[in-house]
């Protein structure tokens, strides 16, 4: 059956949403018309550009650079802080409108959705009219603009919505690939990031067309399965379903955070690890899994990153066990440079129904399990700050670190 997929992408999402909310509350100035960015809090050193307006783009401001760099490029730049609850509200309202047109929607991230209109030709005779209706409704009712990409599969629809912004509709059907997609730089292809693009440049591949015509055998030899994947993407070959839920089988859980101040001694660093382990541990128990591999990552004040992982003998979901392993990893990894960012990840998950005790381990698992359960229940009922480790009291660290501070906030994903 012929498929018809829409990809809807909000233009400068965070900024448009903030602008729309402000206009509703009587702001005279539209943030989208002036050089402005949504940026993190500089005092706690989360000061990077999250989203930029189109006038800000003209100054060469890029997403991900520091606010300091951005201000150097444009001194009159307006910086607004992120408000995630507005974003959730906007995303939800947009989804409600989309649901009026099709039940098959995959919310790919907070500002992107895939819509499946396959086999609805009798309902919507002209897809361009349909796309125009959806786009205009979002613009007039919710006050922000979107790009819509239309094609036969999710990948092409996604590339299409990225073609020219803002407030536009593009098609990218297989017969249009050569004309519309192949001249684009290879970085514009989904799954080609910084690391991959360098490798491709070394092979003299600069456009998507060059990648599509490249020998797939050679690509597979050089880049393993990823080479295969991006070659297929460059040729527009992709067949995944519009999944109703974005939930995929989880491979691991991790949280990381940038600290408000540099951590210079082991004690404070371990406290941050504990605070991260609290978040990771609670999420792990919530997913009813145990983990067998624990890893940590550290970024120092020169922005150099390193990481290390360890496989443990007994699968666990205990905050304390994760923390102990994280600390031992930290001691082996840390070379004494001031730390600005740390993360804890757990992988190799297995079901948490039962676990194998080790004879060499004197740890009281039952007691620890009861304690964890009690803490989780208190926190779920009364919030993360209801109960905290006394070592984190007055430490300047949050009792649970990591995350954007909003529940169920959908973030970007590398799997279509």
């Amino acid at each position: 059956m012929e498929r018809l997929i829409f990809h809807i992408d909000v233009n400068s999402a965070y900024l448009s949403w903030e602008a729309s909310y402000r206009l509703q509350h009587g702001a005279v100035l539209d943030l989208r018309d002036i050089p402005s960015v949504v940026g993190g809090d500089e005092a706690s050193r989360h000061g990077i550009v999250l989203t930029k307006s189109i006038p800000a783009k003209k100054y060469g401001i890029r997403t991900g650079e520091t606010l300091y760099e951005a201000r150097a490029k444009c001194p009159e730049l307006v910086v607004v802080p992120p408000r995630y609850w507005i974003y959730m509200q906007c995303s939800q309202a947009m989804n409600e409108i989309l649901l009026e047109y099709t039940p098959k929607i995959q919310r790919f991230s907070v500002d992107e959705s895939f819509l499946d209109f396959s086999g609805m030709k009798n309902l919507y005779a002209d897809y361009m009219v349909l796309a125009e209706t959806i786009k205009e409704r979002i613009k007039t009712e919710l006050g922000f603009t979107v790009n819509i990409g239309i094609s036969e599969n999710k990948l092409l629809a996604k590339v299409a919505s990225d073609l020219k912004k803002p407030d536009r509709i593009h098609t990218l059907f297989p017969e249009e690939i050569e004309k519309k997609m192949w001249p684009l730089p290879v970085e514009d292809l989904f799954m080609v990031g910084r690391a991959t693009s360098t490798k491709l440049h070394n092979m003299n591949i600069y456009t998507i067309g060059e990648l599509a015509k490249f020998d797939p055998e050679l690509l597979r030899y050089k880049m393993k399965s990823h080479g295969d994947l991006i070659w297929r993407y460059a040729n527009g070959i992709e067949g995944s379903d519009v999944r109703k839920s974005n939930h995929i089988e989880m491979k691991g859980i991790g949280n990381s955070t940038t600290t408000a101040f540099d951590l210079e001694d082991r004690e404070t660093a371990c406290r941050l690890l504990l605070s991260l382990c609290e978040t990771v541990g609670m999420r792990l128990r919530d997913s009813e899994n145990c983990c067998r591999v624990i890893s940590i990552s550290i970024r120092d004040n020169s922005l150099a990153s390193c990481g290390m992982q360890k496989k443990i003998d007994v699968a666990t979901d205990s905050t304390r066990k994760i923390y102990e392993t994280a600390c031992s990893l930290f001691d082996r990894l840390w070379k004494g440079r001031p730390i600005r960012h740390m993360g804890v990840q757990v992988t190799d998950l297995c079901s948490g129904d039962f676990f194998q005790f080790s004879m060499l381990d004197s740890f009281d698992y039952e007691k620890d399990k009861k304690l964890n359960r009690a803490i989780d229940e208190i926190r779920l009922a009364h919030g993360a700050k209801a109960v905290m480790r006394s070592s984190l009291l007055h430490s300047g660290l949050s009792p649970m670190s990591g995350g954007v501070g909003e529940e169920d906030y959908p973030l970007m994903c590398s799997i279509l």
Partner: protein, 87 residues
Amino acid sequence: MKVMNQPIEVISYTDDKGDIRPIRLRLQLGDEPLKVIKIDRIILKHVEKLAGNRMLLFRCQSFDGGVERLFEIKYEFNTCKWFLYKM
């Protein structure tokens, strides 16, 4: 009309269908004394969903001492607050 977005006090009437109708509002602009405005006519009622935030917009008319006045007030569902939006 000028955009004000000033929080105001409102007396409103809600019927058994959940339909809200503002009757009277009280506001203080700058150093001026408190002022009560009676809403004589509602010209337009509209549910606004900008940024996913639901607000009721009323365009109202009042005849204050023979002077006809036009203004817009808004009710925010989330916070239960009234605003004088434009005057």
